[in-house]
Subunit: 185 residues, 2 copies
DNA sequence: TTCACCTATATCGCTTCGACATATATCAAA
DNA sequence: TTTGATATATGTCGAAGCGATATAGGTGAA
């Protein structure tokens, strides 16, 4: 599955600019299982437009560059449907955190502790993000499903780390690392 | 973190050829959280050799091309240590399965069912692979940690899907899709 | 004996990432 | 009050990496 199909998917929910698509990928309900950069989104949108799978409309803005709002066409919906019918590739999970943990002997105890705390913060942040997506309600069947799956998986990781930490440092009273979990929204 | 550091990490455990590194990535304890293709491994090894971070030794084989066995050097260990000290990037999780689930209305019920069964098979396979890594024992502190984390996360996903399936199809008696979970090893 | 799969290295086109460039608006802190 | 950070918005470009393919003989099952 490529970035073109990804854009079509998001546009099938609502029309949007490239910038808004990127934001949706970073902060929306997609955020925990897809990714794409500007360097692939903008070229993809141009391509889709050239293939008449989307339409564009320039929205004037004061000061900023014109916002180019894209909308999916009927041909675009058909292409999306075809893209989704392909057998899905296996999940890809890359974790530098786990890689580093595997080589603990190359790190100091502090470095390991810091890495674990950072990972816990990251997981909490993602969970909070999904929680806020839930609150904004009106979720489709598909939305509910992926949220449930995401919560299950992220919580399991967090729980494992919490157990590991409490097991390793019962009551050491050492300087605690404060992790800011920014409120999303 | 790039493929060079990845190769150094694997070579810090034992010397290996490019082919063996790829196998380790696909089937070893790394398999559920890292990935790399031949297209990046072979060039990476050449680069590492040019930088004297690894040594090469050609092992003759009957029939096949010579096996080029790489071993990490002291400079290589230092480079690995430096690579690991960098703050780890956030986990990257890409799931075409979840993307497709989000757009269920574009698919038939059969397609959705099939996708779910496939996902469950994939998860079971990964769990089995980790189980077999456990059996082969002699695991380091780091190994145990990442296995525990992996099992926690994969099991959580599987459990969620199992609940979803039993909820959706209590006793329909329809043609069941048989999923072959190949025994690893 | 055919066919699929395994060992083994390597390249190549294409996709995608990540960092940067450009331009303006807003808001908080020094 | 000026500086700096953050947000909106589009886009490019070099580098990294993927996935498929080429090559070539060995192994084992149908």
């Amino acid at each position: 599955m490529n970035v073109r199909t990804l854009c079509l998917g998001i546009l099938s929910f609502q029309e949007a600019s490239g910038y808004e698509i990127k934001k949706e990928i970073e902060e929306g309900q997609f955020s925990h299982f897809i990714d794409a950069s500007y360097g692939s989104i903008y070229p993809a949108l141009n391509q889709l437009h050239a293939e008449a799978l989307v339409t564009v409309r320039a929205e004037e803005q004061s000061g900023r560059p014109d916002k180019k709002v894209y909308a999916i066409t009927e041909a675009g919906r058909k292409a999306l449907s075809e893209g989704l019918s392909q057998v899905a590739a296996k999940d890809k999970f890359k974790s530098e955190f786990l890689f580093a943990m595997l080589f603990q002997e190359f790190l100091t105890e502090d470095q390991v502790g810091l890495a674990v705390e950072k990972q816990m913060g990251d997981l909490k942040q993602k969970l909070a993000r999904m929680e806020s997506c839930r609150v904004h309600g009106a979720l489709s069947r598909g939305s509910n499903f992926i949220m449930g799956y995401g919560e299950a998986v992220l919580s399991a990781g967090l729980k494992f780390l919490e157990q590991h930490v409490s097991q390793k440092r019962p009551n050491k009273g050492e300087a605690t690392v404060s992790i800011k979990v920014e409120a999303v929204e």
